[in-house]
């Protein structure tokens, strides 16, 4: 009876999350593009062979992983510092916490164009500042070796508040007595951070790491609007490549293949990360 209450919601989840994966698995063994009149025609493993040899896909996969790993690492470090600051008690803390939450609440596409203006050459404020300091033009949005860092910056700006909140909840779960005891033993604040705070915060750190890595690996809104994947494809992500294959090149069979491959790569990345953390013993505190 109670199961019946849950059925509609679970069915909806199954349709919207489960069906696409089955559909992609099926589509990835079919040609379905303008060449076939947008009708699926079985083509054996041709899509997968094409993917294996597709340099653009592997380049994008590397770029996506680079983006996800670097943004999430920076977000964690920054969020830890901010959470420690917000965990202290001072007047106006509540208001500051609400205000720092704003970047997270804004639509990504909205700020993406904001960043395009701020990093614009030659009129953006960063460029104007650089010029007034006598520097050469930075060309932040048209230099392949730099532009991906701008996307990292924009992601860090937007999602650090999310991790900060998780870590703040973690900090609040640590009893004050532990710190008093540690101080009585003669520990310094820095030692307390290393030996009390960080170990107890670990579950929260790992959790936000897992969630954010998965989300950052699917980065789409940001690069689609901020850079369009450019310059020279240097910020193209797997999701954007899949989108272009489907919506611009109208090659649904290959688009499905790219998305399924992206999902498999993400799963592999998370499994590898879990094994790595396990092998260095970092996951031991989580076993109950």
């Amino acid at each position: 009876m109670t199961m019946l209450l849950a059925a509609p919601a679970l069915l909806l989840i199954a349709v919207v999350f489960g069906w696409p994966m089955l559909r992609y698995a099926w589509l990835s063994f079919h040609a379905d593009s303008v060449l076939t009149g947008l009708e699926p025609v079985a083509n054996g493993g041709a899509n997968w062979l094409r993917l294996a040899a597709d340099q653009r896909f592997w380049l994008d996969a590397g770029q996506t992983a680079r983006f996800a790993l670097i943004s999430v690492s920076l977000e964690l470090l920054l969020a830890l510092a901010i959470a420690l600051l917000l965990h202290q008690r001072w007047r106006g803390r509540g208001a500051v916490r609400a205000l720092t939450l704003l970047p997270w609440a804004l639509p990504t596409t909205m700020m993406a164009l904001g960043w395009r203006w701020i990093f614009n050459t030659p009129y953006g404020p960063i460029e104007v500042l650089a010029r007034s300091l006598g520097l050469n033009s930075l060309d932040l949005l048209s230099t392949p070796s730099i532009t991906w860092l701008v996307t990292v910056f924009a992601d860090v700006w937007k999602t650090t508040p999310f991790i900060t909140l998780i870590l703040l909840a973690g900090l609040q779960s640590i009893p004050d007595d532990l710190y008093s005891a540690f101080r009585l033993e003669g520990g310094t604040p820095l030692q307390a951070l290393r030996r009390v705070t960080l170990p107890l915060l670990l579950p929260y750190i790992l959790l936000s790491l897992l969630f954010r890595l998965a989300q950052a690996f699917g980065v789409f809104d940001l690069v689609q609007v901020l850079t369009g994947g450019g310059p020279a494809g240097s910020t193209e992500s797997i999701a954007l490549y899949a989108y272009l294959n489907g919506m611009r090149f109208l090659d649904f069979g290959y688009s499905a293949t790219v998305m399924l491959a992206g999902f498999l790569l993400l799963t592999a990345l998370i499994l590898a990360g879990t094994l790595l953390l396990k092998s260095v013993g970092l996951l031991r505190p989580l076993d109950r």
Binding site: P8, W19, R23, L84, W90, L99, A192, Y204, Q215, F220
Partner: protein, 291 residues
């Protein structure tokens, strides 16, 4: 400063010297500049004339204008239309999600443990999933069932996409309620519906509020599904409309107007975040801890 404040947290132990306090104020100021600076720049740009945006030699008094806002409200469709569309979609999504998730969470909370474990793992997996990868199959569904360009229909995938988080939050809330309460209501002869409506629902109201605001924000900000499901310009939601302005002309985006759009688009969210700060915080942290 209270005694408590001096002993709280790892960094504030012992007495706080004036030097340390200044240092902290500096960090707080830096944090605020980092968080609000980019939005402040949008605000300034939105009141700047097109000439002044590309010419920093103009005198201070000739730089300012309200034209960007006037242009924004006189386009076709006018900008407020996107705000209306987003509000409609986000409200419908929130309503539909809660209507499905509350009974479902109650059902899940009552399941025997061995079922619950695997079901919860599946729901957590769905919550982690980067849903952008679903867009192609969802677009096919929209075409098959003729759901495209329909602001009511798009609430269905939106509800589904926010359902995992909603279920995790609400199941945790139901599990936290003492069993005696419901048993007592049962003894009083209340039906399942009456128990839910008059006993349990009021008790999980805080969790429902947190869930509602998070779902609302998700639907308000969602981009890939809206991008592929909606194409009529009078039906666009805010994120798609913003991106469309961005894509209209890569080299000559009308930045003043665009900045004004950012400001108008940010105001509802500003109000939401400031008013519902507590619900957002507890929703995100409970989602993390109990999920």
């Amino acid at each position: 400063m209270t005694h408590e404040s001096l002993t709280h947290g790892p960094m504030t132990r012992g007495s706080m010297t004036p030097g340390l306090m200044t240092q902290r104020s500096l960090w707080i100021a830096l944090l605020l500049v980092w968080s609000l600076g980019p939005m402040f720049w949008q605000l300034v740009s939105s009141f700047t004339t097109a000439d002044a945006l590309v010419n920093d030699q103009l005198s201070f008094w000739s730089r300012w204008t309200l034209n960007n806002y006037r242009d924004l409200l006189s386009t076709d469709p006018p900008f407020w239309r996107y705000l209306f569309n987003s509000s409609l979609v986000a409200s419908l999504t929130t309503l539909l999600t809660l209507m499905l998730a509350i009974p479902a969470a109650y059902g899940m909370a009552k399941l025997p443990d061995r079922w619950k474990g695997s079901l919860r793992a599946a729901v957590v997996g769905a919550a982690l999933f980067p849903y952008v990868l679903l867009f192609l199959a969802l677009l096919e569904l929209a075409r098959t069932f003729a759901l495209g360009n329909n602001l009511i229909a798009i609430a269905i995938p939106y509800s589904a996409l926010s359902m995992p988080l909603a279920l995790l939050l609400l199941t945790a809330a139901f599990e936290a309620l003492p069993n005696d309460l419901e048993d007592a209501a049962k003894l009083e002869g209340l039906s399942l519906w009456q128990r839910l409506r008059w006993v349990l629902l009021p008790l999980i109201a805080p969790a429902s509020a947190s869930t509602a605001i998070l779902v609302f924000l998700f639907a308000w900000n969602e981009y890939p599904v809206a991008l592929t499901w909606l194409s009529r310009s009078d039906l666009l939601t805010l994120p798609v409309a913003m991106a469309r302005i961005a894509g209209s002309s890569t080299y000559s985006v009308p930045y003043g107007t665009y900045a004004a759009a950012t400001v108008l688009g940010a105001i509802p969210l500003l109000v939401l975040v400031l008013v519902f700060q507590r619900q957002i915080v507890s929703g995100l942290t409970n989602g993390a801890i109990k999920g």
